[in-house]
Symmetry: C2
Amino acid sequence: MFTLLGMTSTDAATKADVAARPKRGGGRDRRGELIAIASELFAERGFLATTIRDIADAAGIQSGSLYHHFTSKESMVEELLADYWTTLLQRYREVVDSEPDATKATRGLVRASVLLLDECALALRVMLNDWTYLSETFPFMEESLAECQAIWLDVIERGVAEGSLSSEVDATICYRTVMASVSGTARWFRPEGKVSVEALADDMANIFMSGFAARS
Amino acid sequence: MFTLLGMTSTDAATKADVAARPKRGGGRDRRGELIAIASELFAERGFLATTIRDIADAAGIQSGSLYHHFTSKESMVEELLADYWTTLLQRYREVVDSEPDATKATRGLVRASVLLLDECALALRVMLNDWTYLSETFPFMEESLAECQAIWLDVIERGVAEGSLSSEVDATICYRTVMASVSGTARWFRPEGKVSVEALADDMANIFMSGFAARS
DNA sequence: GCGTTAACCTAGCAAGTGATAGGTTGGTTT
DNA sequence: AAACCAACCTATCACTTGCTAGGTTAACGC
């Protein structure tokens, strides 16, 4: 430990840094701020490739200080993912409960997925990149996915039964195709970009309902 | 280092292990074997989450021994990914060069993608899970993806021009939707599973061309 | 002023990480 | 028999990882 003008480096750092430190009462939900900062990094580099030192640097604090707010690196991402799934499933239920027509319900599910992509782009990008690890770490992810699949299959099979959806393609393959497209969209879609969610939702719903062959 | 019956532990380990070691001339392409073993782990747990000690354990050798065959962990996955992209692009070119009809060419591209999914399931699963890291590490991945996109957009726009594909949805969104579905399929598709590639290729081509609304 | 508390710092640990250097083995070639 | 070589081992390095213990600072309530 070197000394500077009779101060130890510890003292010097403390004096200087504390002055530049933002006031305590300022932005109130510090924990939320840190989650936002961390999520950005997770989405950009991947969860596993992001270290807590990266997060601390981005937040302008020391790595150890993060553990005042969180118990582990995993807990920094858990809320983000849990939020996504509860919201998605809640909106799915609203759609299927309020829409008896299977065709419209299918469009509604696509639409709900895409609109949520807009709100939770970070969460989807994080999951997209580290699904294997994250789904092993957080059991609720597999559980939520299972419920998601159940809702979709129910709607599709209802549509096939009432004759509005084609019985020629396998329901499970339909479901997986849609889900893959929607979540895969997270890789390029940016909420602030030039493609609007509304247009995207309509386009994707159209593709799945009618395909992209020209109507004859 | 403890001793046992006058032997050092080093000697003991050597004597025993060498006896159990497979003969040298046996399976000739050892490097290829190791790539296969590593790929399996990469696909299962993710590239970043797999350590070279995991790979060595699975291969029944010591971690240091891997560096007799490879210069780095990255080089263990590079061939796998490069193979995928060269094959995909080559087959894409065969399709667009030999098929003047845009509708059939589109089906051909979907089909080629799905069939390759069958052959290169591991490569796709690896990319799907660690795309962010891998595409930063291997520049050829972004380059190949760009060429892939160019081929797709060309075919789609040709189809729109000749009136066989709908002009109502954005070409780029079409492309991204298809690609996301196909590569996302790698998450659940298993070559040895009960869904045949042929059926899958047909189903997916049908979904994209005609959608899953019942034909009226 | 005094105690409390949230937010942060410093310093470092234990466990792993990818990678390396040099030695050993046994089959193949000459 | 001698030389060669691929395949592997042992032991270890330098570094990074997530995480922790204990201390410091400043705002707030009484």
